[in-house]
Amino acid sequence: MVISAGLVTVVGLLSDEGSAPALLMTFTIQMIAVVAAIAVLIGVLNLAAVHLGRFAHAEHGWPYSVVMLFVMVAVIVLSILDRAEIWSGELEGEQISLRAFEAVQVSLESALAALLAFFLVFAAYRLMRRRVTVWSLVFSVTLIVVLVGWIPFEELDVLADVRDWLVRVPVSAGMRGLLIGVGLGTVMVGIRVLLGQDRSYKS
């Protein structure tokens, strides 16, 4: 079934738009999108079931499960309330659920992402603590040049140019190579799936 779906997709992509294979491919993709949407719902339900189980059996870390279940229920309730537009007063017309998301989720994740800057800086600071090598020197110098080149200093326009060159030439070249490799890997995976050699869906 997977192979046939893949073949249909491949044939539909190679066919003219509006043709039968293309329509069949479109139908297949739609079905897949629906299945994916249902999968998200199933995933949410499964998540809730798992944490309910942990809470019921008082397994290790069950308090976290309680928090998760509480938040999930709260978001769902808030969403329902938002949909019901029960808020009045200053909250009239507000989407409390979106505020909660922005206030909690976005703030937390942004804060965690901000910590990354500190770790990266400290790691670079201790890079040559263990061992001093040429490549570690190159890495450190490059990092310094990019950082300083990012800073809009008129006196350091050379560094900005160097940074732009580094980003566009060597870094972009490396990234292109990675993308080519990714593309080849994707092709191979597709072929393997079509040939039935890759059956990761069974796991």
Binding site: Y64, F101, E102, R129, S140, P152, F153, S172
Partner: protein, 1234 residues
């Protein structure tokens, strides 16, 4: 015929068998007639009348048949006319008080029996004074009065079969003197004696294939063309017990078969020659074996009877052949009875056998060839000696051994042989006797000792004939003389009697057609002279049991040149070769003699039929009597010295039950092919040996007593007794050699064919007589059942990996000392002392001896003493310390992480979790080392990021740079937007990237909204869809934005001025679906499903059928490379401008996709956002005003953020550079220290 004048020593008293010299073969001798010896066995009176010469032997014209057909082996020397032996030169030697040498004829015959071809591979020593068969044969050429053969008693059937009776009588040489040469010529086919030779004149053993099955006469042997015709007799049906009579009328019947090609049987390897050399003497048929053995005392030949003379010969043999091969006498190897099963396995011997090679035939077997076939056991009658040597694996004959003999010393040659032209290899001896030219040379014939190299030529031959006595010239066998034509070859032709069982041994052996093709019998000319052989032969005590046999006709085998590793002979390694050099005369049993031997002697002494003193020279009372019921029990109290000699013997080797009533041989399987015969007296039978040696497979693991214990064995001991026996045995094996427990006297004797039944019966009778009166003597050295289960002498079959091999065992004492020490140590470890536990003092079992003690099941942890732990050397400890020191820093870091984790967990940990028992002791936490550098970096970076928000004093960075390049392309693309255009914003980022991308998205959205375009928020990330509205919502009420739009709006309306469509499932597939167009059946475009509903599920009024036509711009806001790549790839080639808004980290990824069909441009990070705002949204952004209530100057957050980023980047770069410098310096310092 006058024989006395022909003898050199006429004054010698005639031997007892000389009366048979003139014996005439029975008239009834024919193809179907029984051989004479059988007639004797049947009680027929032997041809009496001394000095009577048979018609076929005495006159030359009668072509007396030499008792040696072509392919048949030469008869033993004792088959040579006895009437001639009285005054032969070797008899002179015997008269001197020295035992005679075994004749070459005997050697040949014995080799024939063993299916081996004599191979003169070694320089042949001069013929022994008394062993020269040629002399006697020469004498037969002259008129020699036949000596009267002894009268064979009627009760010795099998002994008569040894050639002491009829065959000798019939084979004895003619006494016609020199005229006998005529019949030799006639035998060659030239004279009328051939036709005149009646069938009845031919000895029965020559009549047909009696000797034709002799495999020793290989046709491919060199020099076979020079052999006489009579040696080329082809064997025929060997199943006939009696030899068939010749059929040809022109020639003697026994010569007619000489025309047939010789037997293709390749000659057996050589080393058997000396070993298998028969003796000149055999036990006389007229006397008991015991008596004869006892009388085997060297005497003067002239006064000796034939038996005595044979005894002397045997003594010489033993003296000469000092070898350990006699150890084989104690048992019959497995291969012995398998000869008829795999005859092809025996490698053919291409070259003559080398004397002194492998020797496998025990002495006791010698002489059996003359037994009556009917008396032989079945297995032996069915032996196929033509295909395989009965001696088992033999060595290949040495190729380098010269085929031709070396000329012996002239003084060793008989007078009549001196000057014989046969010394030359190419001498035509057949022509000399009128025989046709040889067409095929049989197997090698060792005539080296005949002195062929002395002189050659007919003149010399004639001269030698003239010099020969009449008796020797009376040899009526032209074949024998013809065989002399093949110098250097051995002729196995036997002078007469060939037992039927030997005939059966080679049923298909082709016969040698021509006499000259017949190899000359092995005359054993390489034997040592009598002077060298010595006379004081002694039989070791353990071999005394066969002293009687040895005294008769048992040739003492020579020491084997090289034994096979797995040969069973090796089991007798403890026996020294000199042990076999003991005289055949039974010597008094000393202390070294095995107990069983002495017991046997005692049995014999008590036997009514046997006299042990006659046999062994020892009184019966010297040994411990053994009851019949304890035959398998240790029947003697043996000392350790006595047991030493048994170390090489397995207990099973000695397990032979001589008990008359009960078969002593254990029968492993009822259906065993070698089951013991029905007769009771078969303790020496082959079946017993087979069961003991051949079929028995020693158990690999000490099993229980096998059920096939001999019935006569004592009752199995009780369990306690077994335990004691086991313990005692184990103790015994530690220091005392294993005693062949359960092996009664005689069990160590190798199995004998049924031919020795009389002797066995005698032994058995002796045992039976003592059974009642002899006390039970049981040795505690080893339980008999254990000895049987674990025969130490037998190889052990070891199986491993599917392969199986046989490994010979060795006794403990045979092992090296260090191995013995190890053996003792292992046994001491494996065998704990069996001390009975003390009786418990309390409990229900108090006072009961042997009760199991109580075991403390509850063991306190404290009571557990630390077991033997690993022994750590100081060096290992130092290494461990180093490793621990190296891991110190890492452990500190891990400890820090553990502290944080524990702290976090402690907040949420419940009482139950806290109450959980700590099974594993917590690792002691180390003090968290303060890392100043980490704190310094963190604080410095944090200050650099925060301070710009507090004051503008640190706003040292310039304004954001203007858009350029790909950034400008984004602005230009947005500039293309028209009011009302749909701009699809793909919010492919989550809250994690929101801090960086929100600003960028806002900048672009602001620009889009200003231009009147309608942003459509869509995301394949659920969080992105939710976050989209959070990004757009702040702009909906921006006054400057709304003012710039100039549309009179108070705020932007969701679902009108902007759309948040929600989640697009399917990732790449969902993105791919955006390319699809939807129409109804009438062709009317339909709303695209992706734009059909908003984030809340409400339907939208978007009229978007095809993205390519209805969407003006696609802005992909990607916080991950996958999303950026997916949109670029799935919508590649779509005629819709696309821009990418990515983080600074993804800028290198976006660059490759900036192309015509992908992204028109990109904006990366906050820097581009600031640049874009500065360039494009300056008029739409609200001016900064200090919030109310704050009295100090607070920088513009927008500006402060820009400078914060710049300062933070600067601080980060400075920290990294600092760290680099510091670490580089430290590295240099460390390097300098090193």
């Amino acid at each position: 015929m006058s024989d006395q004048p022909n003898f050199p020593n006429d004054d010698r008293p005639p031997a007892p068998w000389e009366q048979y010299a003139g014996q005439e073969p029975p008239e009834s001798a024919g193809p179907d007639a029984a051989p004479p010896w059988e007639q004797f066995a049947a009680g027929d009176a032997p041809p009496s009348g001394a000095q009577q010469t048979p018609d076929w032997a005495s006159p030359p014209e009668s072509a007396p048949e030499l008792p040696a057909p072509s392919s048949a082996p030469m008869p033993p020397s004792d088959e040579i006319p006895r009437g001639l032996t009285g005054d032969l030169p070797w008899m002179d030697y015997d008269q001197a008080g020295q035992p005679g040498q075994p004749s070459e004829m005997d050697d040949f015959l014995f080799n024939f029996e063993n299916d081996e071809v004599p191979a003169p591979q070694e320089p042949v020593p001069p013929p022994a004074p008394g062993g020269g068969v040629i002399r006697r044969l020469k004498r037969d050429d002259q008129p020699t009065p036949p000596a009267p053969p002894p009268e064979p008693p009627a009760d010795e059937e099998w002994m008569r079969a040894f050639g002491e009776t009829a065959e000798y009588d019939q084979v004895h040489l003619s006494d016609s003197g020199a005229d006998d040469l005529d019949w030799l010529r006639a035998e060659a086919g030239l004279g009328e004696p051939q036709a005149s030779a009646p069938d009845e004149e031919q000895p029965p053993w020559l009549a047909d294939d009696a000797l034709g099955d002799l495999p020793l006469l290989g046709a491919d042997q060199p020099g076979e063309e020079a052999l006489p015709d009579w040696l080329n007799v082809e064997p025929e049906d060997t199943g006939q017990p009696a030899p068939s009579a010749p059929e040809d009328e022109a020639l003697p019947d026994w010569l007619l078969q000489a025309d047939e090609p010789p037997a293709p049987e390749p000659p057996a390897p050589g080393g058997v020659i000396r070993r298998l050399r028969p003796r000149d003497e055999e036990p006389p048929a007229s006397m008991d074996f015991e008596t004869w053995a006892a009388q085997a005392e060297p005497e003067e030949t002239g006064s000796l009877s034939y038996e005595e003379w044979e005894q002397q010969q045997a003594d010489l043999e033993r003296e000469e052949q000092k070898t350990d091969a006699d150890r084989m006498l104690e048992e019959v190897p497995d291969w012995f009875r398998q000869l008829d099963q795999a005859p092809e396995e025996q490698p053919p011997a291409e070259a003559p056998a080398a004397p002194g090679g492998a020797e496998f035939i025990p002495d006791w077997y010698l002489g059996l060839e003359e037994q009556n076939v009917e008396e032989a056991p079945d297995w032996f009658q069915n032996l196929d000696l033509s295909q395989r040597s009965i001696t088992g694996p033999l060595e290949e004959p040495a190729a380098e051994t010269p085929a031709g003999p070396e000329p012996p010393a002239q003084e060793d040659l008989p007078d009549w042989l001196k000057g014989i032209p046969g010394a030359e290899a190419d001498a035509d001896w057949a022509a000399a006797f009128g025989a046709p030219p040889a067409t095929e040379t049989p197997a090698e014939v060792d005539l080296s000792g005949l002195g062929w190299g002395a002189e050659t030529g007919e003149a010399a031959w004639d001269a030698s004939l003239d010099a020969l006595p009449d008796e020797e010239l009376m040899l009526p066998d032209t074949g024998l003389l013809a065989s002399l034509e093949a110098p250097g070859e051995e002729e196995p032709a036997a002078p007469g009697e060939v037992p039927d069982w030997l005939q059966a041994a080679a049923p298909e052996q082709p016969m040698i057609a021509r006499p000259e093709d017949i190899p000359f019998p092995d005359l054993d000319l390489d034997q040592e002279p009598l002077e060298e052989a010595g006379t004081d032969l002694e039989v070791p005590g353990e071999l005394a049991w066969m002293a009687g046999y040895a005294a008769t006709d048992i040739p003492v085998p020579t020491p084997p040149a090289e034994e096979e590793p797995e040969d069973f002979v090796e089991r007798f390694e403890p026996l020294e070769p000199e042990d076999f050099a003991q005289p055949a005369i039974p010597a008094p049993l000393d202390e070294d003699a095995p107990a069983w031997l002495r017991e046997m002697a005692a049995d014999v002494g008590t036997s009514p039929d046997l006299d042990v003193k006659d046999l062994f020279g020892q009184e019966p009372g010297d040994v411990e009597p053994v009851p019949a019921s304890e035959e398998r029990e240790p029947s003697y109290v043996a000392s350790e010295e006595e047991l030493d000699w048994l170390t090489g013997l397995s207990s099973e080797d000695l397990i032979i039950n001589p008990e008359p009533p009960a078969p002593a041989v254990p029968e492993p399987e009822p259906e065993a092919p070698h089951a013991a015969p029905a007769e009771d007296e078969f303790s020496f039978d082959s079946a017993a040996i087979d069961d003991l040696l051949g079929l028995y497979t020693p158990p690999e693991i000490a099993p229980e007593p096998e059920p096939e214990m001999p019935p006569a064995e004592a009752a199995p001991p009780a369990a306690e007794q077994e335990v004691e026996d086991m313990s005692g045995w184990f103790e015994e094996i530690t220091g005392v050699p294993m005693e062949p427990e359960g092996a009664p006297p005689g069990e160590g004797v190798p199995s004998q064919p049924a031919d020795f039944e009389d002797l066995e019966q005698a032994f058995a009778a002796g045992r039976a007589a003592e059974a009642d009166e002899a006390p039970l003597v049981q040795s505690t050295d080893q339980p008999e059942w254990l000895g049987e289960m674990r025969p130490s002498g037998l190889p052990v079959n070891v199986r491993a990996g599917g392969a199986e091999t046989s490994v010979p065992q060795k006794q403990v004492i045979e092992l090296p000392e260090r191995v013995q020490a190890f053996h003792h140590l292992v046994e001491s470890e494996l065998i704990p002392p069996l001390a009975p536990p003390p009786a418990p003092a309390s409990g229900p079992l108090a006072g009961i001896a042997g009760a199991l003690p109580l075991i403390e099941l509850a063991v306190l942890p404290e009571a557990i003493a630390p077991t033997q732990g690993p022994v750590i050397t100081p060096e290992q400890q130092r290494r461990a310390d180093r490793l621990q020191a190296l891991l110190g820093l890492t452990e500190v870091e891990e400890d820090e992480a553990i502290v944080v984790e524990d702290a976090a967990f402690g907040v949420l940990a419940t009482d139950e979790e806290a109450a959980e028992p700590v099974e594993v002791a917590k690792r002691p936490r180390r003090r968290v080392r303060f890392k100043a550098d980490r704190l310094f970096v963190t604080l410095l970076l944090l200050v650099g990021l925060i301070v710009p928000f507090a004051t503008d004093a640190v706003h040292f960075a310039d304004e954001p740079p203007a858009l350029s390049g790909d950034q400008r392309a984004v602005a230009e693309t947005i500039n293309e937007l028209q009011p009302g255009d749909y701009v699809l914003f793909a919010f492919e980022y989550g809250p994690t990237s929101a801090g960086e991308l929100d600003a960028l998205t806002e900048a672009v959205l602001r620009d889009v909204l200003v231009r009147g375009a309608i942003p459509l928020a869509l995301s394949t990330n659920p969080a992105g869809a939710l976050h989209a509205r959070g990004v757009i919502e702040p702009l909906t009420g921006a006054e400057r934005l709304l003012n710039v739009r100039a549309q009179g709006e108070s705020s932007l309306v969701f679902g009108e001025d902007y759309y948040v469509l929600g989640y697009l499932p399917g990732d790449a597939i969902g993105v791919r679906m955006l390319r699809n167009s939807y129409q109804d059946e009438d062709g009317v475009p339909q709303l695209h499903p992706a734009f059909n509903s908003d984030l809340y599920g409400d339907e939208t009024d978007l009229v978007i059928n095809i993205i390519e036509d209805d969407v003006a711009l696609i802005a992909v806001i990607g916080g991950e490379s996958e999303s950026v790549r997916t949109w670029a790839e799935q919508l590649n080639g779509l005629d819709v401008p696309k821009i990418a808004l990515v983080t600074a980290a993804l800028e290198p990824l976006a660059i490759p996709y900036v192309e015509a069909e992908a992204y028109a441009g990109y904006l990366a990070g906050y820097r581009d956002a600031a640049s874009y705002n500065a360039s494009r949204n300056a008029n739409t952004r609200e001016p900064y005003t200090v919030p109310d209530g704050i009295e100090f100057d607070v920088p513009n957050p927008e500006t402060a953020r820009w400078h914060s980023g710049a300062l933070g980047a600067a601080i980060a770069a400075g920290l990294i550079a600092l760290g680099m410098v510091i670490n580089l310096f430290r590295g240099l310092v460390r390097r300098g220290r090193r």
